[in-house]
């Protein structure tokens, strides 16, 4: 019977050429991509010695390091599996391509082989057992780590779209930018976070410091980290929480012991009254700002928005959406949608004079 798939000599050569070229092209592509991606992983480290990136393979803290080590182990094993199966696949595709054939010639019809099938069932089972045991150890090491006596305790509360940080034992309330002490083998100073949420689900992810853990309302969570290097570590919310999920950034400043102590004592102080900014303070009090925001030591104790007592100690505003500059602050208060459309801060629609005054006041909040 005539079959559309009948192959003539000329077509057979084409098919052979195509097969070789297809394999080569695939290999070339993959190699190039792998090379390129390796380069880009290296290249992605941002410049500046104190500023770190978000590369999960550049861990700076014990949980992140345990994860990275386990990950390399898993990658090696899966890599070996890949090479073996990829090799078998490529071999079978190349070796067993159909030659020119008469309509009636078919290859030997093999239905199966119990021994082979048993082998390729047992070996994967063993691999899974090994992987599982390695993984279970790391799970317990990270999740069930006991909290030592001197650990820094922070309560992180997720909001749409900012982070509230409280240090209950130190009497500090701040927002969006975390300061924690550096930890070392001779002076361990881990930080333990309790994770809560005021509204929807969020996730705390600073890749170089720890794996992510979610902040879920009515479901307190716990995580810890002990950064071994000082500097700024960045991350962001990783669980979709609404319109401005993308701009709920995290900035963790890991400080040496002196800097951390200085920061703590500065944060513990209430608002420093500055006579030159009294007009701005009046604007703040008269325009319902205190319904949402708190200023330590003043009647303003709103909890709906970030605590502003030490606003000027932060490098960014709006959870990292903008640098903390005069112009940005002004724009943010006047029209938050210009910076972060969908943020829950309303546009205050102040007059220019009032706006300037309140910004000047904000700029005294060190």
């Amino acid at each position: 019977m005539a079959r559309v798939s009948e192959v003539k000599n000329g077509r057979r050569k084409m098919s052979l050429l195509k097969t070789i070229s297809s394999t080569l092209r695939f290999l070339a592509q993959t190699t190039l991509l792998l090379f390129w991606s390796a380069m880009s992983v290296w290249a992605s480290e941002p410049t500046g010695s104190s500023s770190h990136g978000t590369n999960i393979f550049a861990p700076a803290s014990t949980p992140a390091k345990s994860i990275a080590d386990l990950s390399i182990f898993v990658l090696v094993i899966t890599g070996i599996i890949f090479v073996v199966v990829f090799g078998l696949l490529t071999y079978s595709v190349v070796k067993f391509r159909g030659r020119a054939m008469g309509a009636s010639r078919e290859p030997a019809q093999v239905y199966g082989s119990t021994q082979i099938e048993l082998a390729w069932t047992i070996i994967p089972i063993l691999i899974v057992v090994v992987l599982f045991l390695a993984t279970a150890r790391v799970i317990h090491a990270i999740q069930d780590a006991p909290e030592p006596a001197g650990a820094i305790e922070i309560t992180a509360i997720g909001h749409q779209y900012w982070w509230e940080f409280r240090y209950p034992k130190l009497g500090i309330v701040t927002a969006n930018e975390l300061h924690i002490p550096v930890s070392g083998p001779d002076h361990p100073a881990p930080t333990f976070l309790q994770l809560l949420s005021a509204d929807t689900d969020h996730s705390f992810w600073v890749p170089e410091l720890a794996g992510k853990t979610d902040l879920i309302p009515n479901h307190p969570n716990r995580m810890w980290m002990d950064p071994q290097r000082t500097g700024i570590f960045v991350g962001q919310c990783a669980q979709y929480c609404g319109v401005q999920h993308a701009k709920m950034l995290l900035r963790v400043s890991v400080d040496g012991p002196e800097e951390f102590a200085a920061w703590v004592s500065a944060q513990q102080k209430p608002v420093i009254e500055d006579a030159s900014a009294i007009a701005g303070r009046r604007v703040f009090e008269n325009n319902a700002c205190m319904n949402c925001h708190a200023l330590g030591g003043t009647p303003a104790d709103g909890r709906f928005g970030p605590d502003l007592t030490h606003l000027m100690s932060r490098a960014t505003i709006a959870a990292g959406a903008a640098e903390n500059t005069h112009d940005n602050l002004r724009l943010w208060i006047q029209n938050p949608s210009a910076i972060k459309p969908g943020s829950l801060m309303p546009a205050m629609k102040l007059s220019d004079a009032d706006l300037d005054a309140v910004v000047s006041y904000m700029e005294t909040l060190h």
Partner: protein, 557 residues
């Protein structure tokens, strides 16, 4: 000559008025026509979902881009995911099941033709409901539009308080309605396979495609229903003041996650198992050998069906379950990789010693094999829950599941299209356009989804409408976007092939691929009644037995 086929010569039937033809299609209960309706509607939604993807990728091309607003972006990724899973993947697979299962078991139609039609139209209505949200989602306060809660609608984001207007309601209702359609189709498939097989076709002689659709249908019954239950609960919360997922009243957001993923994980196996079916049929025919290890393929599929019901919380590794729960789900997730991996070996075993014909269906199948291997391995990586604490909720996951869905499911679907299009329409698809389609799509796919793993490793979370410039994600995202557009061009080539070949393709005849299952014994396209006389089979490859009477399969089974 006595034959199972009665062909009516072209030109002897009167051309019908188009209204009549349309009416026939709208009221059909023929499984073949319903199959085509499923497939065509899925292709329409594929194009729409694809446009949504291109919008997403254009916005993410570089940091701080302004192509669309955050609101629109969030709607795009929600609609893209929901459309692709519920209104592309499920319908197209149901469509192929509808078309092929009765033919492969020698039946006249599905067990319940009218239920079949009802299920299709329910499914289609669900799709229309979802897209109507663009118009009707505003509600009284202009507060909503298309849903923007992600395709999982995690609690409490889906609650009235955080999703005002009706956008979430359209999402919920669309899925509820199409879910009932899916349950109808699944029941139909099971009843057809168990009750309408032709004489001689014992369960262990069914083609693998039939087996896999049986397993898939049973999974649908157990997987879709938890989602339906959760949707009903969400509606009770939103409309009757219920507190199922109301954390302020003591409710649990985590409960929604459990219910959703008890659906969500088996769902992805519901999607991939019919694709295993396509691969088993196609690789076998184009290697010119029977499938290697048929009983184990069946056993592995059933095993996957059971084990996959116990892995769901690997989508929840970051939510703070205790270490024992995390360890348990790590173990089960890795375990489900075993029967899945075995199948790859069986397909290699099928090709081994064969005479591989590199027609377009086989090209896509080979692509599937390479890509499904990689997808499975990245899945194993994320099964290790600490690794998932970094990789989860990042672009690594997005890369992984697109590798499965596009690199696996879509490639298998393309193979199925090229393989069965001749049977459905009577014309061959153009091999030349097919090769263009394959290579363009392969290049675009790898450009996008190979590279996409890297931003995940570099800390890029998912579902963000923009990102910071200093993180090293810019160039990678640009390449990903370029790949997306290459894939779009390939899809256009595919659609062009479908349309052009319908009018100009070479005539297929009954059996263009020299295949072995019952559907190739009747004309292309098949007559309305399928088989003039009920076939009777003695082995797994009845046409092999007929073509090789000196060496039939029945001797070896």
């Amino acid at each position: 000559m006595s034959s199972n086929v009665i062909t009516v010569p072209v030109g002897q039937t009167e051309a019908r008025p188009w209204v009549d033809e349309l009416h026939q299609w709208l009221t059909t209960v023929d499984h073949k026509r319903l199959g085509i309706l499923y497939i065509v509607s899925a292709l329409l939604f594929l194009v729409i979902g694809g446009v949504e993807a291109l919008i997403i990728r254009t916005q993410l091309m570089h940091s701080h881009n302004n192509f669309v607003s955050p609101q629109v972006f969030n709607q795009m990724f929600t609609m893209h995911g929901t459309t692709m899973i519920f209104f592309v993947a499920m319908p197209v697979l149901f469509g192929f099941a509808n078309y092929l299962v009765p033919l492969m078991i020698g039946a006249r139609d599905m067990a319940f033709p009218r239920l079949n039609a009802f299920s299709f139209w329910l499914s289609f209505l669900g799709g229309l409901l979802l897209y109507f949200s663009f118009l009707g989602g505003s509600g009284l306060y202009g507060a909503g539009s298309a849903p923007d809660v992600g395709w999982w609608s995690y609690a409490p984001l889906g609650a009235r308080a955080f999703s005002p207007g009706h956008s979430s309601d359209y999402w919920t209702l669309a899925l509820l309605v199409s879910g009932f359609g899916s349950i109808g189709t699944a029941t139909n498939i099971i009843a057809t396979i168990l009750c309408l097989r032709c004489p001689g076709m014992k369960l262990n002689r069914m083609p693998l495609l039939v087996w896999m659709n049986l397993v898939m249908a049973e999974m649908v019954l157990l997987a879709i229903t938890p989602l339906s239950a959760a949707q009903i609960m969400l509606l009770i919360d939103r409309y009757l003041g219920g507190h199922f997922f109301d954390t302020q009243a003591g409710g649990s957001a985590v409960l929604w996650m459990h219910f959703f993923w008890i659906f969500g994980h088996p769902e992805v196996y519901v999607l991939i198992i019919p694709c295993f079916a396509f691969m088993s049929e196609i690789i076998s025919v184009f290697s010119r050998k029977p499938i290697f290890g048929y009983p184990v393929m069946v056993a592995a599929t059933v095993c996957i069906a059971f084990v996959s019901m116990s892995v769901w919380a690997h989508h929840m590794f970051t939510i703070g379950m205790n270490s024992y729960a995390n360890s348990f789900f790590t173990l089960t997730t890795m375990a489900v990789g075993i029967p899945t991996g075995i199948k790859i070996f069986n397909w290699i075993g099928t090709m081994w010693g064969g005479m591989i014909q590199f027609k377009t269906p086989m090209l896509f199948s080979i692509g599937f094999l390479f890509q499904f291997l990689i997808a499975g391995l990245t899945g194993i990586m994320m099964a290790a829950s600490p690794f998932d604490w970094q990789l989860g909720l990042s672009y690594f996951v997005v890369a992984h599941f697109h590798y499965v869905i596009v690199g696996g499911i879509l490639f298998a679907l393309f193979a199925a299209f090229y393989y069965w299009y001749p049977k459905i329409t009577g014309r061959m698809l153009s091999e030349r356009l097919g090769r263009w389609h394959f290579w363009l799509f392969l290049i675009g796919f790898h450009l996008t989804f190979d590279v996409m793993h890297i931003p995940g490793l570099l800390g890029m979370p998912r579902r963000i409408y923009t990102y910071e410039p200093g993180r090293g994600w810019d160039t990678l995202n640009l390449i990903i976007t370029i790949g997306a557009f290459v894939q779009a061009i390939a899809i256009l080539v595919f659609v062009a092939n479908l349309i052009i070949s319908y009018f100009k393709g070479a005539e297929a005849g009954n059996d263009p691929w020299d295949a072995w299952t019952l559907e190739w014994s009747i004309s292309s396209p098949p007559p309305a009644y399928n088989f003039a006389t009920v076939p009777s089979v003695a082995s797994r490859r009845p046409l092999w037995d007929l073509k090789h009477p000196e060496d039939p399969d029945s001797r070896y089974e």
